[in-house]
Symmetry: C2
Subunit: 191 residues, 2 copies
């Protein structure tokens, strides 16, 4: 049975996200994505008439929503703040390990590839990182409200740095260590 | 006057470091480096007979030594620990701003490009990040010795994450914020 065209778009987005997570913009060339998605060339121009920029933009939006949901799942009030932070870093570490530490944050990888003319793409990265920070901040209900925004931004920066370290070390030690550090930091903010 | 061949090697290394900082492995193709260095093609094969891998390896070693010296300069005991941490993050922010936030850590950019077969390169990244962490740890003389290694590794992870955020935001706010967070973390370790 031939694959449906709706399926082709979803596969292209999923492949683009995977390749961006592996190696940023240079890894997500149109040919690489088509090959990974096993999609016909025509489907690419059909769904992304503006070309690679549009495909990357939609892939990043899809990744943004996925990570925002993962942040909400792990951090929403219920258990203690420490337990929620541990859950989040454990989950990120487990997802990295499942790819043999070869796929980390798509936005982080793109941010380190930005060139001078990439202002639309840079703004997209900035906006996604800000949204994740906001999602996290809203979950930090134990913290004084004046500290929540900083804590959310710090969480995102620490997660990005720890994923980078985990890739270089090919183990989740940096994520476990970062969880401890972030908990100590958050304790220093608590009333 | 013709440029000397010693000059050509230095220029090739400097260009490779610059291009790695801009966009990781994909930005530092042999042709890109030759063009940036204004070096004759023959000099590349003369100095790096094993090709791109050798050039990248030597570029990363050169960058490793540069950053290790910058860490030592900023963090060596003399002023208060808070003042030394501020100096370090200020310096990193100033260097990023000088490149319009287009050149961050070469090792961080390469780490997010690693593929399954890149084990030599991955080990090089791991070793450099570990060396920087060790250099920083040695400077944290105010901290209990059992906490210094973790503090050194945390500093490196936080610096990597903050540089990534600064590139996406095109400003040094993430570095200033990270300095505050790292100081709060370090205070939580002090006896």
């Amino acid at each position: 049975m031939p694959r449906t065209t709706t399926g082709a778009k979803d596969r292209i987005i999923a492949s683009a996200v995977k390749l961006l997570r592996q190696g940023g913009l240079a890894s997500a060339g149109l040919n690489d994505v088509l090959m990974d998605a096993q999609a016909p060339r025509g489907s690419l121009y059909h769904y992304f008439p503006r070309g690679k920029g549009q495909m990357v933009e939609e892939a990043l939006q899809s990744y943004r929503d996925l990570v925002a949901a993962q942040l909400t799942d792990a951090l929403s009030p219920g258990k203690s703040l420490d337990a929620r932070i541990d859950t989040l870093f454990d989950n990120v570490g487990r997802r990295l390990a499942a790819t043999e530490f070869l796929e980390s944050c798509a936005v982080g990888a793109v941010a380190l590839d930005l060139r001078g003319g990439d202002d639309l793409l840079r703004t997209a990265c900035q906006s996604i990182l800000d949204q994740w920070a906001h999602v996290a901040a809203e979950c930090f209900t134990e913290l004084p409200s004046r500290n929540r925004a900083t804590a959310g931004r710090t969480l995102v920066a620490v997660l990005e740095g720890a994923q980078l370290m985990a890739r270089a070390h090919r183990n989740d030690g940096p994520l476990r260590e970062a969880a401890g550090v972030f908990k100590a930091y958050v304790h220093s903010l608590r009333p």
